[in-house]
Amino acid sequence: MQTTVSQEAPKGSILYDPKVRGIFYQVVLVAIVAFIIYEAVTNAAENLQRAKIASGFGFLNNTAGFDINQALINFSAAGSTYGDAFIVGLLNTLLVSAFGIVFATILGFIVGIARLSKNWIVSKVAMVYVETIRNIPLLLQLLFWYHAVLAPLPQPRDSINVGNSFFLNARGLFMPKPLFAGDAWVIWVALAVGVVATILFRRWAWKQQAATGKLYPINWISLGFVVGLPVLMWILLALFGANPISFDVPVKGTFNLRGGMTVYPEFVALLLGLVTYTAAFIGEVVRAGILAVSKGQTEASSALGLTSAQNLRLVVIPQAMRVIIPPLTSQYLNITKNSSLAVAIGYPDLVQVFMGTVLNQTGQAIEVVVITMAVYLTISLVTSFVMNIYNRRVAIVER
């Protein structure tokens, strides 16, 4: 009898129900935020109309009328729209950010480990590198790299020529471009098989090592799977008379080389600038991470007979990752955001193409700026999301 009474809801006005009150305040807050947003948008639209400035997102379908030299998709002044220009800029931003993240991570880890080296010269060189690079504004470094990359390169007529297929001059690095014919799918399949085989082999080798202590040359065998298999298939196909891959080799034209693939000096300069700059910060992050692993771990591993390289790779770095990952994530975000400085050296990234040319040709500042901000925000949030997943995997498991 008594139990049923205590389970009943207390009788009284719902005004005093903390749950109801909680919901009420939430609703009020949402309403206020919605009102502010509504006011801001309508206010902007009204003001734009009064100032007789065109508004709306219709401009994205208008013909662009200008050209972009480095485009990952087909882009031409005649047939492409401002929307296509946006995609070109976005892809260029993603391209340089992705390359930047990979190379900055590699260089950053080398620098961070070098700073802790017992070799006096190595550690001092790493220290000077970090202290110099991270204390000079990135923009200046980009301008330096651009002119440093550009200045010694010859004019197209005096191109540096390697085997009549690689050319280097002030317009960029020209390389043969692979063209995949109908039979090329065999090679792609071989590559996929190689990747899957590598993953399976690594798991098997890991289990074997855990069970028997036997070590396998994992890296060499992986390389054999991933590179060897496709190359083998290519050779086999070629032996049977098929020609799965042909090369479009650059040839000399009136002004410049024609055909092939080009790596532009703007891209190289931007990448060099971003990588060296960010690697200095990543180096410090890595150093901090390694120092955070207690010395006892290293002593224990050497007592177990691990070499110092094994100690670093198997004991120290995995534990240091817990400290390294969160600040490393912000460095990755910085690379993406700093890539917008490309505007100074003529690399057609999102800011250069979209906030530069498109904004100026259409005059629709609000729309263009909002889209650009939303894009950077999205890229950053996705990067953080991925890094957070990884962070959770390496985080210490409390037992």
């Binding site: 947003i37 948008v41 100032a51 009328g65 034209g253 002004f255 410049n256 000096p265 040709q361």
Partner: protein, 339 residues
Amino acid sequence: MKKAIVSIAFGLTASLIASGASAQATLNGVKQKGFVQCGSNPGLAGFGVPDAQGNWTGFDVDFCRAMAAAIFDDPTKVRFIPLTAKDRFTALQSGEVDVLARNSTVTMSRDTQLGLEFPAINYFDGQGFMVRKSLGVSSAKELNGASVCTQQGTTTELNLADYFRANNMKYEVVAFATADETFKAYDAGRCDAFTTDASGLYAERLKASNVEDHIVLPEIISKEPLAIATRQGDAQWSDIVRWTHNAMLNAEELGITKANVDQMKGSENPEVKRLLGTEGKYGEAVGLPNDWAYRIVKHVGNYGEVFEKNIGEGSRLKIKRGQNALWTKGGLQYGIPVR
């Protein structure tokens, strides 16, 4: 959350635009501030460039000085805001500058979609190309396959695409945010050709490491009427711009110069009297004193004087009057009568 941040940003930008658009009576604002805020080229020899002491000189700069002279009787009451090609219109739209005198081409879309007006064309120009002599090119038609450096956000960028498309030629465009960076890249050998308005070619050529190595090709591939821009919706302020320009043209046509303007004040010629404010009340109609044109000529000079001093024979650029001669001498500059 993402949406919320975007919307807040939207709101902030919107309020910026709003503050610009609501400044209806630009003249009153300028009088209150005590100076004209003039959007200027960050550095184009002859048109707008600051010296080591921060004193601005140039053809476009003198236009703003003429406005200050008309309003304040003092050509120094101008603040110059250097603007790159891609920032200039936003700066004017948002009210950061009162007037834009920055070799800007007027086109139909700019006039109708940006919320701007272009009351006075102070220089008739056209786009050209500069190349290295060593290339052995003598015509723009031979540029098939060339790399071309240009400044982004300009009509130049669009004309370039049109020209190569119309002539069925291929090219590579390398676009930079500032004129300075564009020319530096060309000078460093990144491009075969450099393109901008012909006036700009002569001005930028002076920056080359060896001036004699570069030639300007004969083709002019576009019409570039360079105009002074104001915000749409303030007719009075646009009138002041329009009539500042016309006063300078009329002064040249009537032979009124900086040197003889005081003497001309005693002239019996009714046209001179109306222009210099000794007859009629033409200045009042645009919110200026009646001797507005006298002040302009006294402090800055007539159109011809300003042209010769900054970009003509009296300067390093030595640009010929050409299309910018008075209509009486076969040019396009035509002063609308003051009456």
